[in-house]
């Protein structure tokens, strides 16, 4: 499994996710520059968090037009793995690789803090090693993370078992006050229908180092190793 992380101008979680992936996979991770067209034969592409191109228009709206994204879209359409974290998730919805959209948080403010999420299915690569019904503490850091989809789309996402994570409390229960950004049905992460493209707002790479006192996110990266390259 060869991982590659796309670096857009304004990406700022690229190094964080590269470091975790290199530690987990024990292999070098490819840096994929936004102006390039070469995916360097990576099997698994990660779009990291940050503010691609400044995100001045709408988060992810410009990044989707970058040269590298044309290759990422092609890779995904061929069944290749792609995962977007935070800004990466926003870019994937803008690029049409994931359904729905990420809107401004209901509080209208950027929020950075620890939250809990629970996996809604373990039949997706990133949740394979997680336990259903268990809460994982993973931080969020975003201003536009409120997941939204129209009723039909939402129904389809649920019918196809594409909901990857929901926000919850430390006991894995969902309540109004556990929905940190106002996402529809507390959705924190989803996959596409093909189950090869994943997006999540929380940052598992920020919960994967014993020095930081939280290892709940590491399992998500370790789960990725179970993939059989396409």
């Amino acid at each position: 499994m060869k991982f590659g992380v796309v670096i857009f101008p304004g990406s700022n979680c690229d190094q964080d996710v590269i470091q975790v992936l290199e530690r987990v996979s024990n292999k070098p991770v490819a840096r994929l520059w936004h102006k390039d067209h070469d995916l360097q034969s990576c099997d698994f592409i990660v779009l990291p968090g940050g503010f691609s191109y400044g995100d001045y228009l709408r988060s992810g709206a410009i990044a989707r037009f970058s040269p590298i994204m044309q290759e990422v879209i092609g890779h995904a359409n061929k069944g290749g793995y792609v995962m977007g974290i935070c800004n990466g998730f926003q870019i994937l919805t803008e690029a049409g690789l994931l359904p729905g959209a990420l809107l401004r948080n209901t509080e209208q403010k950027f929020i950075c803090r620890n939250v809990h999420i629970r996996p809604e299915t373990t039949d997706l690569l990133p949740t394979r090693r997680l336990e259903k019904g268990k809460a994982y503490q993973v931080p969020i850091a975003h201003g536009e993370g409120r997941f939204y989809a129209d009723a039909d789309t939402l129904q389809r996402i649920k019918d196809q078992d594409q909901v990857m994570f929901r926000y919850c409390n430390s006991h894995a229960a969902i309540a109004p006050d556990t929905n940190c950004n106002g996402s529809i049905e507390s959705i924190a992460g989803i996959s596409n229908e093909g189950r090869n493209v994943f997006g999540m707002m929380p940052h598992p790479e920020r919960a994967a180092d014993p020095d930081l006192g939280n290892m709940d996110g590491l399992l998500i990266f370790e789960s990725l190793l179970e993939a059989v390259p396409a």
Partner: protein, 750 residues
Amino acid sequence: MRFNKKATGVEQQLTTVETAKKLGLLPEEFEKIKNILGRTPNFTELSIFSVMWSEHCSYKNSIVWLKTLPKKSARMLAEAGEENAGLVDIGGGLACSFKIESHNHPSAIEPYQGAATGVGGINRDIFTMGARPIAQLNSLRFGNIQNDKTKRLLKGVVKGIGDYGNAFGIPTVGGELYFDECYNVNPLVNAFSAGIVEVGKTASAIAEGVGNPVFIVGSATGKDGIHGATFASEDITEASAEKLPSVQVGDPFQEKLLLEATLEVLESGCVVGMQDMGAAGITCSTSEMSAKGESGMEVWLDKVPTRQKDMVPFEILLSESQERMLIVVHKGQEDKIKAICDKWDLYCAQIGEVTDTKRLKYYMHGELVADVPAEDLVLGGGAPVYHREYREPAYFKEAQQFSIDQVTEPKGLEEYRKIAEFLASHPNICSRRWVYHQYDSMVGTATMTTNRPSDAAIVKVKGSDKAISITVDCNSRYVNANPEEGCAIAVAEAARNIVCSGGEPVAITNCLNFGNPYVPEVYWQFVGAIKGMKKACEKFETPVTGGNVSFYNQSSDEGPVFPTPTIGMLGILENKELATTLAFQNAGDLIYLVGAAQNDINSSEYLYSYHGVKLSPSPAFDLETEYQVQDATKHLIREKLVQSVHDISDGGLYIALLESAMPQNLGFDIQTDSTFRKDAYLFGESQSRIVISVAPAQQAAFESALKGQNTAFTLLGTVTTGECRIDNEAFQNTVEIKKLYDTALEKLMN
């Protein structure tokens, strides 16, 4: 103002003393300029002098005293005033560059952009040194939180810091927030940044080598922020809103690109020297770099990429447009810098070259528009140096009259509960989460204090076993009560926070926020603060690496702000395993008070806000005792004899206990000491006291380690599962008081 936009020649539009006064210069300064030039300056030249000789750039009213501060230590790689920021050797071939700076006046007028560009500016100071920023702090002071204006300013400032810092991608890991009426008109916004660089890979702000090309890199130059440095050197008045063009506009995306490009350009080996453009823009960077290199520069202003058409020379020279860098490159290596800037889609234009004339010659379309000697513009060169008059203000003696006996001791449990709730929900003490949840505090995956809170923010230095510990501190109420003692306390508190976090204090940066220096009573506060800082920095061996001076923090109607010398301190954890949390860990652990209690409520939040006594001396403090308490604490941490360590500051012992209890929803059961007034024991803010929790199995080892340390200590009680008990009475429940503490600020803001 008589100024013909068409005529730009040196011999034209000569100035008068009236023009000089409008630009903020004194008549004698105008005379001095005429002597330096041997002629009357034109408007462009006078503008150059006015910004370079403003307090902001020249430190003319403060440098005499700043020079008395200690600035040497074995770790110091760049001393105060030598470079854009201090540089400290942290061992293992690494150095830390750190600095604090104010953006008070812009934030008073336009809080969002004022604060945002403050963050941008301080980070540029760090990466101009070649260091990659890894953490930011900020220190904020506002007026009465009940005022709508205060709320508007606070919301704007926090959003500005958040939007800029979050997009730039460097975590904001801590800070201070303080409210007092004295900041109603003039809030204080101080931003701190720290970065890491390999020793020997730093850049210097120097221009040398005749013929070497001078490049401007980053954003295009616009009309924003013209005369910003002069603006920062005046009192705030009603007319200040008319100075809106003096406030710059920030673009964190450009800053992020500039950071990456700058570090790559430096790595490529083509750089002779570089300096970011902050106050006074191209004027300041070209003159300071030339003066440092004892060289000169020819600058072609028409080559500067501009945002607006028809910008005239003085506008280009004085523009404080953000996200720009001046880089002198080795001749023949121009292609390297151009290729890197092209990669990052940044403007990159050669705007001049280094000369040996020691003069700055600015040209517009081939015509010389200003010709000034570099050395005469800068601090340490020809910039004026003043010894200001100072005088003890009347309030100082009055404050010394206060005695604790003038305050009736509270009677009974109910009143103590009321005071405890008052303090826990007081805007100066309650949780700051409304603020810090808006900041990305975790990007970079190095913040060790997210899940293990500590008295100072701890950030690991990746690629090493080390971590840095950083804090900003100043209780300006203490400094107002007694500038010398209060400022010594600010340094001591910063050091105490570093020590409690497991670090070794190594150096400070300061942000000296004061009123108008021409008012003798204000200058007395400044002088006192410097004296206090000096003695404390000498004691803790934490030299001053730099910072900034912000005078004129006052409004003409309401007088000066409290003297506020904010201390930003850097500490080192040789091994990140020394990181120590303030949070109680286990019910049943023993709680100790290290340091001696005092019968003292001077200048406490309790006295000031609950009893409304506005004038009293600064809290009890003895530098030698403080040093010993800190030394003992360091020893206990190194010997791994502690479960948690938290210093006692605002709100006293009670608040310290509560802060240690809340993270894990634990409580405490303690006994007070009847030889002291109970209110002084619980809420007094006498210094040099630390709350430490210890596992019962380590009690004997802990006590015997302390007995060898010449430091007073008391066993207060034990950690409980969630009840707070004082003197065998149920006082409060942690979960309930935590709700009050956590939500107090957001209730006020929403």
